[in-house]
Amino acid sequence: MTFVKTKIELSKLQAGDILEVLLTEGEPLDNVPRNAKEQGYNVLSVEHVEGTTHRVTIKK
């Protein structure tokens, strides 16, 4: 579902726009950057925010 939500948000953006997604460790953090890359989006960074939360920056 995290990638489903990410994908829907990405679809609302224009090419070149940047989306920040906050993800928890485990499945969401493995899955979202991988799928974004597979679908041709540019994953700019994955940074640790706090605790188990990470911020993934994706460029459309």
Partner: protein, 159 residues
């Protein structure tokens, strides 16, 4: 293989939990680039009714009563732990609390992702339902032959 992968789901059940499985799989697959077809039949038709509560949809008095008893998305029962209708409320609460998408959110996501939704012609006939009774995202009314043609070459699930 450059061809689009395809997942087709026959949504037979009108149970809250099984419909959650249908839409979780469907949206997940659509998000990673699958073509997704969902064929709603019999109890599953409850999920795509325009009126999400209870209403007397149907052709004659008998199907109208059935329509009321079956209801729509908001009143779907759970297959277990229904507790006379309290079950789905408890599950909705648990899902929200754990940040898991609820059935309604999943259906909205399915629409946003452009999942192809179809209604079963025969079941609609039996239950006295018309295409106008369903949400506008329902693309078409189909029979078995057309569904088989659509699902050909992909994976098919019956839920």
């Amino acid at each position: 293989m450059a061809e689009t992968k395809k997942l087709s789901i026959i949504a037979f059940s009108g149970d809250f939990d099984k419909l959650t499985a249908v839409f979780t799989l469907g949206t997940g697959a659509a998000a990673v680039g699958y073509e997704v077809n969902i064929f709603f039949t019999f109890w599953g038709l409850d999920a795509i009714k325009k009126k999400q509560g209870r209403s007397f949809t149907g052709g004659n008095w008998l199907t109208k009563i059935f329509g009321f008893m079956m209801g729509g998305l908001k009143v779907t029962p759970t297959s277990r732990f229904n507790f006379l209708g309290a079950g789905p409320k408890i599950f909705r609460y648990l899902m929200k609390k754990n940040n898991v998408a609820t059935l309604e959110e999943l259906v909205e996501a399915a629409k946003a992702l452009g999942i192809n939704m179809y209604a079963c012609e025969m079941a609609m006939h039996v239950l006295g339902l018309k295409k106008e009774d369903f949400i506008p995202e329902v693309k078409d009314v189909l029979g078995v032959a057309s569904f088989l043609k659509l699902s050909d070459g992909g994976q098919t699930l019956f839920i």
